[in-house]
Amino acid sequence: MSKKFNIDTVANAEATPGQALPWAELGLKQNEYDRVVEILGRRPTGAELAMYSVMWSEHCSYKSSKVHLRQFGDKVTDAMKEHLLVGIGENAGVVDIGDGWAVTFKVESHNHPSFVEPYQGAATGVGGIVRDIISMGARPVAVMDPLRFGAIDHPDTARLVHGIVAGIGGYGNSLGLPNIGGEVVFDSSYQGNPLVNALAVGVLRHEDIRLANASGVGNRVVLFGARTGGDGIGGASVLASESFDDAKPSKRPAVQVGDPFAEKVLIECCLELFKASVVEGIQDLGAAGISCATSELASNGDGGMHVELTKVLLRDPTLTPGEILMSESQERMMAVVTPANAAAFEAIMDKWNVEYSWLGEVTDTGRLVIEWDGETIVDVDPRTVAHDGPVYERPYHRPAWLDGVQADSFQGSSPDLRAAVLELMSSPNMCSKDWVTNQFDRYVQGNTALAMPDDAGVIRVDEATGLGVALSTDANGRYSYLNPYEGARLALAEAYRNVATSGAKPLAVTDCLNFGSPEDPEVMWQFAESVRGLADACQELGVPVTGGNVSLYNQTGGVAIHPTPVVGVLGVFDDVARRTPSGWREDGQAIYLLGTTRDELDGSEWANLRGHLGGTPPVVDLAAEKTLAAVLVNSSRDGMIDAAHDLSEGGLAAALSEAALRFGVGARIGIDELCERDGIDPFTALFSESQGRAIVSVPRSEEVRFNDMCTARNYPTLRIGVVDTENSALDVQGHFTLPLDELKEAHEGTLPRHFA
């Protein structure tokens, strides 16, 4: 039984061309609305208007970013495609990791919802990205969470930190997905606009890849999972008042509430569907809900679909057709099933107690036709909804203020080094993130070979061989603020280096581009430069972008966040038993510093602690990064190193401190030779953030072999110390000694002090 609405049918639209529609309230521009009318050759119905308006939104259509994002495809060489099974454009990219195994991974943002309702916003962010992974036919195996908050001591920060961290954990832990890494950064530029990015990775056999398309005329279309409610359509209630007949619509929820239990059941249920081969194509429902799922499935398949919308199971019976099409209720999936498999499909739904409803079927008409109670309310070419959205070449220009900022290089007087290291390691960005990461399950599934606080998360894929993957996500908004082109390249370089530091060979990239308003030409320039930088850098390193997400309008008032291109790199291991931890363990091992240290303090954590942001970020040399990665991966594979930690934010001071604290094992370090070789002072040696560097610990028996390898590759190497298990301290000889207890207390006290 369907509610009686005074619905706007196609026939009615044809009969009443002059009827005014609330397109502006739904976010369409005049030219966009005119284009819809032109495509249809008539005014849209209310339901069609709903579909076009959500699908043509910035979020779904990438209308401002599309012209730039093309570079990710255009700059991919054939060699880079070698491991790509599914590239950009699908729900998530799929990468071949050998032995018939593949992985799929992607990072997405849930920034705005998390500011409004931190717990649910973050939770549903995890839920959404995990459904993307499921829809490729994969079993999700891990999540990560790059986060950005405002200043640590701002009165609103605790609310966001508590809610967001609990939400990430509440959802991910309940799904049984180990959290294997992420970021926590505090910076006042994110005050009114925290960033909540969530990454998920899944595993599948090559033959199990599922693409979201509706093909096979006569195949049936089914919606399953949670019921459809009024979630996420707050602004669209203008439609409700248009078409509602007898009663006032109930209130539409301002936020979405996640049900991780329902999603966990959905995961198992989908995997059983895949295993039993009873679905042809499958599509997750995220933003734009049924509008998105039907139009994308149809346009990626045989081109036609017929749907009876009254069949949708509702949580709120007052929803109008347009609202049903736009609803963003969580934990739903849509599938295409052959008639012969329908009974098997239903049996699996019943086993897992999942609700479903058969909505319609695949046709060859080239039209997406949606009926309500037998009357046609949508009749469109699905491609025009899903793929032919507006594309903008937004104007952009380099900000005039940038010259001034770049000229303002950091001028610090040399501080007391011991105090400076303690200050750095207890600072909000460099302190231990245990208070956060202890709220996440890193053990579940039993395949986590490396996780926080090591450089990358490592997951075993194949229990028989040890085949596995490593992942790291990185971004530095300050670097990107100083130079967005270089900033994006630096983000990739760091993630790539982190993966290689763990011992994995980097293979592929995902990214989440968090920026301010594209309508601001200076922000648009930051965006364009970042994409150009990332695409160039991917080409130079030979790792393709397989998918990602763009989040624009991250600003409060007129002030945008620092440009924050979060980059995730995936690497592969033949055997995860070879992974390298970041901390020292064995007494007497030699500690080497790889790479060259320059005077590069602009944009650094140390400058940040002094309230300075100016100059130019560290130089990126991707050829050097490639060599460094090869050194790290080979020495891990050949058993030449026992520990490795890359140098990034906080430089050598941070890397040494973290390597010592990892297992509570100290070292004796000498930096004088380094200072002499690189022509720098001890302060620069410790706090500069020059790229292309890592520290490794080498067993005595391997030193010759290790040195030979570095020499052969012509990579700068310097023995800077030895691991010392006897004396529990970080001893930088001639400069200071820091007992590990004192360092640990400084490092671990900060987050509990603010949030516990």
């Binding site: 195994w101 309940s174 198992e268 996440f440 053990y443 194949d462």
Partner: protein, 262 residues
């Protein structure tokens, strides 16, 4: 209907950790409820200990002839209402309850984390779990003392031996009235105790208990995540620093296998 928890690749056969082939004849059932998470991990642990793991589905009415049952961790039914409250009413729980309370030779049952919560809700074990004192989910490597090494699930340990296994939960604070607590202590039914630090406020540092007959044991920390070198905690109570090398939890699984063979 009984179906294995679906996998993308099926379990890979891997060499049994045990040389005693006879252990492989012991069939240990691992129950999956909707929302169970650590079922595959518990099955892996059984296999690494040398036994044969059998998947059991909550909706079945049949224990498939298993010699012992593990109710694994997770968030069955989302932990909504109370952890374990809804799962307790599953058809399979009736079979388990009947078999576990059947006098001498009763079915050995181990509840881990959510499984422990299910066992208390089902009244197979006394007490209950409330939210951690911190109100947060807490994941960390936890040191425990094996207080009672005479149960079916702990006989491979020495009484007083310490072990390190992962702990991960939100509702892990064990509570019971004073009389029950005294009774548990008096009868030697406190099987595991938190040492060094009580992570959640549990009464008398209790981490795990048994029923009076000793065949049903529940504990909050996760021994099944400390059974395989390379994938366990970073430390072991044996003291060495090793990357994810801790396997102190394996004894729980070898204990029951050996008892059932012996």
């Amino acid at each position: 209907m009984s179906v294995e928890t679906p996998l993308i690749g099926d379990f890979q056969p891997f060499p049994s950790a045990s040389a005693e082939g006879s252990l492989a004849g012991v069939r240990v059932g691992v129950v999956t409820f909707p929302g169970t998470l650590d079922d595959r991990d518990a099955m892996r642990a059984v296999r690494l200990a040398g036994g044969t793991a059998i998947s059991l589905w909550h909706g079945d009415h049949d224990l498939r002839g298993v010699d012992a049952v593990i109710i694994p961790g997770g968030f069955s039914y989302g932990d909504y209402l109370r952890a374990g409250a809804i799962s307790r009413f599953a058809p399979l729980m009736e079979q388990i309850t009947a078999a576990a309370t059947g006098g001498p030779g009763a079915l050995p049952v181990l509840g881990i984390c959510n499984g422990f919560q299910v066992l208390t809700e089902a009244h197979l074990l006394p007490g209950s779990m409330i939210k951690n004192n911190s109100l947060h989910f807490l994941c960390r490597d936890q040191r425990l003392r094996v207080e009672n090494a005479d149960t079916l699930w702990t006989s491979d340990y020495a009484a007083g031996e310490e072990i390190v296994v992962p702990l991960k939960n939100q509702d892990g604070q064990f509570v019971a009235d004073e009389r029950t607590l005294d009774e548990l202590e008096g009868e030697g039914r406190v099987v595991f105790r938190y040492v060094r630090e009580n992570p959640n406020g549990s009464r008398r540092d209790i981490a795990g208990i048994s029923n009076a007959a000793g065949n049903v044991v529940g504990l909050m920390p996760h021994p099944e995540h400390a059974v395989e070198p390379g994938f366990g905690p970073d430390s072991s109570a044996r003291g060495e620093v090793d990357l994810r090398g801790g396997t102190d939890g394996l004894g729980i699984f070898t204990s029951v296998l050996k008892k059932l063979v012996g």
